[in-house]
C-alpha cells in the first residue's frame, strides 16, 4: 500500500502541474490580447508600431478625448443602453405575464399556447429577415428604435416564457390560496405575492437576453441606417472606417466599447455564466 502511494504521489503532482500549466497558458492567450488592447489605448500611433509590447510611456487620455469629441461614440453607447433596456424590460414583462397565465391557471388551451411559445425557440429569426424587413417597412418601423426593439422582444420571448413557466410552476399553491381567501385580487396576488419570489429567475432571463442584444450586430445592420440611431457594435464599424490608420484611437474605441459589459461581467460573473449557458446546461 505504502509503495503504491509513494509511486502515485509524484506522478499525481506532475500531472497536476501539467494541468496548471495548460490552464495558465490558456489564461495568457485569453487575457493578453485584451491587456494589449487596453495598454495600446493609452499609446500614440508611433508607440504602438515601434514598441507593441511595452507599457505606454504616459497613460495619456488623448485618444479617449478624440473618441469623445470627434466621433458619435457617446450617442452609439446611449442608443445601445436604451435599446437593450427597453427590449429586456418588455421581454420580462410580456413573458412573465404569459408564463404566469400558463403556470398558475388551468385553462383549455394552456398546453397549446405553451407549445406555440416553445416552438419559437427553434426558429432562427435571422433567416426570416427578408419578410421581417418587409413587415417592419409596411408598419413604418424600419430605421427606428421601435422596430429593432420589437424584433429583439420577439426573439427573447420563447425561451423567457419557457424559463419563467418552469420557475413559476415550482412556487407553492398555498400562498396564492390564502391570499385569495383574504380577498386579494388576481392582479395583487401576482404582483405582490408571486412575482417577488420569481426574482432569481428574472435575473437569469434578463442576463440571458441582455448580453446578445447588447452585442448584436446583424439586426441593426439591416434595420438601422441613420447614424444617430446606430448601436454600439454597429457604430464601431462606422468609427473604424473613419480612423483606419489611427491605431491609438481604434484601440481606444474597442476598449471603451468592451468596458461596460466587462465590468458588469467581473461583478456578476456567476449570473452571466449561468444566464448565457442556460439552455445548453440542464
Amino acid at each position: 500500500m505504502s509503495t503504491v502511494v509513494a509511486t502515485r504521489e509524484p506522478a499525481e503532482l506532475l500531472k497536476n502541474g501539467a494541468i496548471q500549466l495548460m490552464l495558465a497558458i490558456n489564461a495568457v492567450i485569453m487575457i493578453y490580447p485584451l491587456f494589449v488592447m487596453v495598454m495600446s489605448s493609452f499609446k500614440t500611433n508611433a508607440e504602438i508600431f515601434s514598441s507593441p509590447f511595452a507599457l505606454p510611456a504616459h497613460f495619456s487620455l488623448a485618444n479617449a478625448e478624440r473618441v469623445w469629441s470627434e466621433t458619435n461614440f457617446v450617442r452609439y453607447l446611449a442608443n445601445s443602453v436604451g435599446i437593450t433596456m427597453a427590449a429586456v424590460t418588455l421581454i420580462l414583462l410580456f413573458s412573465t405575464m404569459a408564463a404566469y397565465a400558463i403556470a398558475r391557471y388551468q385553462f383549455r388551451l394552456s398546453a397549446l399556447v405553451l407549445m406555440f411559445f416553445l416552438s419559437g425557440m427553434t426558429v432562427p429569426l435571422k433567416l426570416a429577415i427578408i419578410p421581417l424587413f418587409i413587415q417592419l417597412d409596411s408598419l413604418g418601423l424600419v430605421d427606428s428604435y421601435a422596430g429593432l426593439v420589437l424584433v429583439y422582444v420577439a426573439m427573447g420571448i420563447p425561451s423567457a416564457v419557457f424559463i419563467m413557466t418552469g420557475f413559476l410552476r415550482t412556487l407553492p399553491r398555498e400562498l396564492e390560496e390564502s391570499a385569495r381567501m383574504d380577498g386579494a385580487s388576481e392582479f395583487r396576488i401576482m404582483r405582490s405575492i408571486m412575482l417577488p419570489l420569481a426574482r432569481p429567475a428574472l435575473v437569469i432571463v434578463a442576463i440571458q437576453n441582455a448580453v446578445p442584444i447588447w452585442n448584436d450586430f446583424f439586426f441593426p445592420l439591416v434595420l438601422i441606417t441613420s447614424d444617430n440611431l446606430k448601436t454600439l457594435p454597429q457604430g464601431l464599424t462606422v468609427f473604424i472606417g473613419e480612423f483606419t490608420t489611427d491605431w491609438g484611437v481604434l484601440f481606444t474605441g474597442l476598449t471603451l466599447a468592451a468596458l461596460p459589459i466587462t465590468l458588469l461581467y467581473i461583478v456578476l460573473s456567476k449570473q452571466f455564466i449561468s444566464g448565457i449557458t442556460q439552455g445548453a446546461v440542464k
Binding site: T122, Q135, L254, T262, V281
Partner: protein, 311 residues
Amino acid sequence: MNIGRRHTTKAFPWRRSLWIASLLTPALVVMVLFVLWPLLSAFRLAFYEFNGLQPTGFIGFENFRKVLFEQPYSGWTWNALKHNIIVFFALMVFENGTAFLLAYALLKALPGHRIHQVIVFLPVVLSAVIVGFLWKLFLHPLFGLVNQTLALVGIGAIPWLGNESTALGSILFANIWHWLGFPTLVLLAGMQRVGKEVIEAARLDGAGDYVLMTRIIWPLIAPSVTIVTILTFIGSFNWFEIPYVMAGLTGSPGGATDVLGLYFYRTAFGSTTTGIQDFGQGSALAVMMFIIVAGVTAIALRYLRRREIEL
C-alpha cells in the same frame, strides 16, 4: 379551502377568462407578428420574383434553380457552402476539442480553477464586432501583434488575412478565441453532473485518467456533447459577424472566406461592389439554410440521442 378559487372560477368565469387572455395577449401578438408571420412568409417569398421590396409574381422554383445551378450564383453558393462545412468540422476539432481538455482540467478543481473559469468565459460576453476588429488589428501584416511576436523568433511577416490559404484559418482562430469558454463550461457542467461517487468508485477500481475519460466521463456526458455539437452546427451555418468584420462582405481575398451568411446578406441587401439586390434569391437561400440547419439538427439529435440511450 377552495372557496376563494371557486369564487373566481364559478362566480365570474368571464372575468377569469378575460384576465388570463389579457396576460397572454401581448406576448402572443408579438410572436404572431414578428416570428410566425415572417417565418411562414419566408417560405412563400422564395417562390416569387421581386422588384425591390415588392413581390411581382409567382415563379415556382426559379429562384432555387438560379442559386443552385446557374452561374455565377451557383458558384458562389457552393463555394460558401463548402466553407460552412469546413468551419463546422474545424470548430468541432479545434474549439470543442480544446474545450473538452480545458473542461477536464477544470474538473480537477485544483487551486485557482474558479478564476480560470471566469477568464475563459470573458471573451464570450464581448461583441463579435469587438473581437473581430481586435484580431484584425493583431493580424495586420506589418504592425500586428501576431507578426511582431513571430518576428522576435525570426519568422517573417505573414499576411494572415490577405492570403487565400491562411485567411479562413485566421478568422476561425479569432472565432475560437471568442467562443471557447462556452463549450468549455457546458462540457464542464456535464462532467460535474457525472458525480464524484462514480469517479471515485472508478478510481478505486484502478482506473487511470485515460480509462476514466474514455470509458466513464465521455459516455456519461453524451447529452452535453449532443448539445455542443448541435449548437456548433447551427453557429457554423449562421456564421456572419466575425467574417463580415474581418474579411468584408465579399469574403476576401477572392471569396476564400465567403460563407452562406455573407452570401445571403449580399444577395438580400445588396453588396456595395456589385449592387445586386434580390429578395427572391435571398429568400431561396434563407429557405435552404433553414432546411439544412433544421434537417441536420433533427437527424443529429436522433442519432446522438441513440448514443445516449444505449448507455
